[in-house]
Every structure is written in C-alpha cells, then in structure tokens.
Amino acid sequence: MEEGRKSRTMENPNSETDTTTTTTTTTAAKKKKSNSSDKKRKRRSGFEFCEVCKLSHDQGHRHKYFPSHIKSLSTFLSRFHDNKISDIRFFLRNPSPLRSEHSSRNRFWCVFCETDIDELGSSFACSNAINHLASADHMKNLKHFLWKHGGKTDQVDNFTISEAEVAKWEKKCKSLEIEVVSSNKAASGPLVGPLNDIHNELNYGNVNSFENNNIDSVNLRISNGVMPLQYHTNEYQVSHSGFSKVANVSLFPEDVSSSLPVENYPGTNSKMLNGFTGNRTCQHSPMWNSGKCLADGYLSTYGVYQNERMVKGESSSQGLQSLTQITLAPERSGGNVHSGAPPPWFEAIGESQLNAQQKPVLSNKLGKSKKLNPKRVGAAWAERRKMEMEMEKRGELVKSECNANWLPNFGRVWQSGTRKESRKEFELEKKQKLLKVENQPEVPLKIQPYISKRMDKILLNLMIHL
C-alpha cells in the first residue's frame, strides 16, 4: 500500500507530496492503532458483567467512562447511601438497643464488600454494620469498587465511618446501658416479674423506625407491652406487617408523642399524638432521648391497628397493654358486614354514579379495542365484512352464496408477484388443466402437399404468362 502511494507521489509531485506523505504516515499510524485495537479486542472478546448497570458488556475498561454507566453509578450509590447508609448513620448518632428478635431481620448487604452483615450478636442497633463500615477491609473494598467503576474519591467518606465516630457511638451506647440499668432499678409499677430481664431491653430508648419519606413507616410502631402474651402477639403482628417494607431497620418501642415528625405521618396519627400528650407524664424531650420518658411510666404506643381505637375510645390505663374497648358508633341503619349490607363507601358513591362511572370506563375499554389499529391486516375487509354480517343478521341482506370459485388471496410458494396475481395464475392453471382434458379429441389436420418456394414462384410465373 505504501509503495503504491509513493508511486502516486511520483506522478503528482510538488504540493501534493507533503499531504500524501502525511496521509501515508497517518494511515500507517491508524493502521497500527487499528491493528493493536483489533488485537486488544481479540484478547478482550469476553464479556464482563457490570454490577452497577447490571449489564454484560465487552467494552472492558472503557465501560466506566460511558455516560450511561456514570448515570447508573450515581443512582446506584445514591440509592445505597440514602437507604442504608443514612439509616446506619442515624443509629450512629442515636444508638438504640437491638432486641434479639429483630436482629435476625436486620441484615445489611454491603455492596462494596458483597457480603451480608448480620446483627446476630449485637446489643445495639446496627452495631455490626457500624463496625463493618469502620473497618479497614471495607475501606479497601470500597476503594477497589470506586476504582473499578470510576467513582470519585470523595465518596469514600460517604460510605465509611471514621474511628472517631465509632468511638463516640460506643460511648453513647455505654451511657445508654447505664441509664437503663439505673432506670430499671428505680422504676416501679406493673412490671411483670419473671419477664423483667427481657423487658429491661425493651425499655431502652424509643427510636422510631426511621424510613426516609416512607409513609409505611407509620405502621412500624410496636406496642410496648408488659403482659407478655399480648405484647408478643401484638408486636409480632405489627412488626410483621411492617417489616415487609423495612429490611434493615429494626423496630423499637417508641415514644409516640415526641418522636413523630408530623410530616411523615397521616393526619390521624398526629391527632392521636395530640390526644396523648395529655396522658404522658414524660417530658417532651427531643426526639430520641426517650429513655427517660419510659422510666417515668409505661406509655403504650400502638400500632396502626389500634390507632383508630385510641382515637375513638378511651385510652388504656397506663402501662397495661390491654385492648381498649371502643364505644361503638351508633349503629348505622344500613346494617353491617354480618347482615350483608353494602359497605359505606359503596353507598356513598351511589348507584347511579357508579353506573355512570362504569359505563364510560367500559366504553373507554371498548373504545380502545374497537378502535383496532386501522392499519392492521385486512382492516378494510374486516369492516366491510362486519357490516355485511350485521345486515345478514338483521335480515336485510340475503346471504349471497359465496361464489364457489372464490379463493382467498394467497401468496403461493412457487410464484413471484403479488398475491392477486397468484390467484389469477391459479385460475389459469386450472383452466389449462381443464383444457388439456377437453382438448383430447383434436381436429384432424388437413394434410397438404409441400410446395417449396421455388416451385411456388415458378408456378406463379407460369400463371402470369398464361
């Protein structure tokens, strides 16, 4: 190739030589590059899986610079950060005890180390997670991850916990422990004796199950019970209902009045809160310092199921986790479930409205399906046929006996051309076949003597002369 180019330069000297030489060098360089990249590509023909984009790609190390990857990386990290890390940080600031029942549910999957971190042996919420995030191994894995996926190095701080913070946290834990122990000694009241040990754990600070912007967290409130059976069943119900949403945040008995940021919860709950403040003897302490509150007495917090009851009926006696009896609203004339009456929301809408609602909905649906794609195959034919059929049904149009020779448009196998032509061809073929059959009795040919042209001419001349 290069030689050819050189010969060309011989033919076109002067100005073009420079350009051609430069082009030769660039092409040569390009060739080299392409060769090497080809080789590289050949080497790296395997596919890798990017956990961030959840895609297999064969782009190798280039993949982390692609904008799609950068985008998915940012969402990935922010998701992990917002969900898991922020919860852990929360517990870092406000340590709360972890009950053994909840610990099995508090698994934390660290995406950088790709391991689960259980909370099996821990006494405080997320303690294992906190320790993990502060560990050197995690730091190493985090850095490797960032290198592999091209994250910025300031992310390192976001996803680890420094030693100082861990130390602070441990101090807080210890102080909490001491507090609780002392408070337990001081506390009097309807503590069930044999269950003292377990309940000591329960009486620790009330931390709300904190899910950012998740209204379902409303459901995650445990009743802080004394009567063992009731407590457990209630909590089991409530916690099971709630845990489906919250994987890594444990439920804690909570301080209802002080703990709920109003914006997170629907109106009813805030009403309930307000209703309760009167009952509470504890101070309106800042959110998470509720260990003291409990020391003053037992304040029941109720799961959503009991919220309604609390709003309607009397509050329970302090401490006892007995179910409250509500004063039933005056019985509605309509009856109730047992009498088979329609539910109140049904009546409220009103039947006519329902019908009106249904009809447009139905007609919308029908409209959707009726307006079949007008571009679909055979749409015009279908419309025509539908009209015909309707008319036949009505009896207006007598069903014309389909032409016995009607054939659908069919693109035949050994035929090129449009489908209409195929039918014509077929008709032709049929005719030919018939003709073959018919034409067997042939007309006998007239046999004539052969007269050559010369003879013909001679004969003609003779005739003229004659």
């Binding site: 079949l372 679909r376 195959v377 059929m389 659908p408």
Partner: protein
C-alpha cells in the same frame, strides 16, 4: 383430539370460516387425522386452542375430501400436516428459516411454541404486516425438503391423492 376442534371437509365451509373470522387469527390445519405427525400437531392445537381463543380460531381440514383438493392445489400443500394462517381473510406468511414461508409444515414441539407462533402472527397482523418472523429457535422448527412443483408432481410419492408425510 379432533373432537375438540372443528374439522371441515367442504370448500364452502372453508370459505365461510375464512371470510367469517374477523380480527382473529385463523389457523387452518391441513392434514389427516390418522397420520402420526398430524396427531401430534392436533394434540398441541387442541390443548392450546382455548388459551388463544381470544384472538385465534383453530380449524382442521381433512385433505382426503375431494372438495378441498382445490385448496390443496391452491395452497401448494405437498407435505402434511400443513398449517396456514389467515387474518381477516388475508393470508399471513411467516419466515421460520424454512423454504416455505406460506405455511407451517409439521407439528410443534410444545404448546408454548404454537402459542408463540400465533402471538407473533397476531402481533404482526395488528401492525399491518403480512409476513412475520418466527419467534422460535431453529432447533424447534421442523425441517423438511421442498421439491420443485413439477418434480413433485411426477414423483409417485407426492401425487395429490397420496401426500407424503414429512420426516423430522
């Protein structure tokens, strides 16, 4: 198996079913109820006919009747079972990598294969396509040899009255 599905023997019936099936895929199976491969196909068809009944009608045509011979010639049916798809009286072709796009020759390996094929046909028809691609992988498409028509007519095995069965 054929008691589940209609079997037609007259051209008039075939005509009427083609022209009366509106906005639904019409699956016309041409075959012989006693043939082994036909039996396989009929089994699959009858079991899945109900599931696709919202958008498909499945009909069997016996090729042994005289009346239907014109269709057998017209549709160039030389191997049985052959299945032809119609939508709104328009013939739908499917490219399954075989020589003949105008019909499906042979049985299906699974019910789901048949359902996939019919769904592909329906989808293509709704979009206005007269030919669709086959969604099945090549190993699940029965293979056959298609000889040129004249050759076939001459060969004793493939005369109109004695259509040979395909071998998979």
């Amino acid at each position: 198996m054929s008691y589940v599905l209609n079997t037609l023997t007259k051209k008039r019936e075939v005509d009427s079913i083609i022209s009366d099936t509106i906005d639904k895929v019409l699956v016309l199976r041409f075959g012989r109820a006693s043939d082994s491969v036909c039996l396989l196909l009929d089994d699959v068809l009858s079991k899945s006919a109900r599931e696709v009944s919202n958008f498909t009608t499945v009909v069997l045509v016996g090729i042994d009747s005289e009346d239907v011979q014109v269709y057998i010639n017209y549709f160039d049916i030389t191997l049985i079972p052959s299945t032809i798809f119609f939508f709104n009286a328009h013939h739908m072709k499917m490219d399954s990598g075989t020589a003949d796009h105008t019909k499906w020759v042979g049985a299906f390996h699974q019910k789901q294969d048949f359902i996939d094929v019919v769904e592909a046909i329906f989808g293509g028809a709704m979009k206005g396509k007269l030919i669709v691609n086959c969604p099945l992988p090549p190993e699940r498409i029965p293979k056959y040899q298609l000889l040129y028509k004249d050759v076939e007519e001459e060969s004793p095995l493939a005369s109109a009255s004695d259509i040979c069965c395909l071998s998979k």
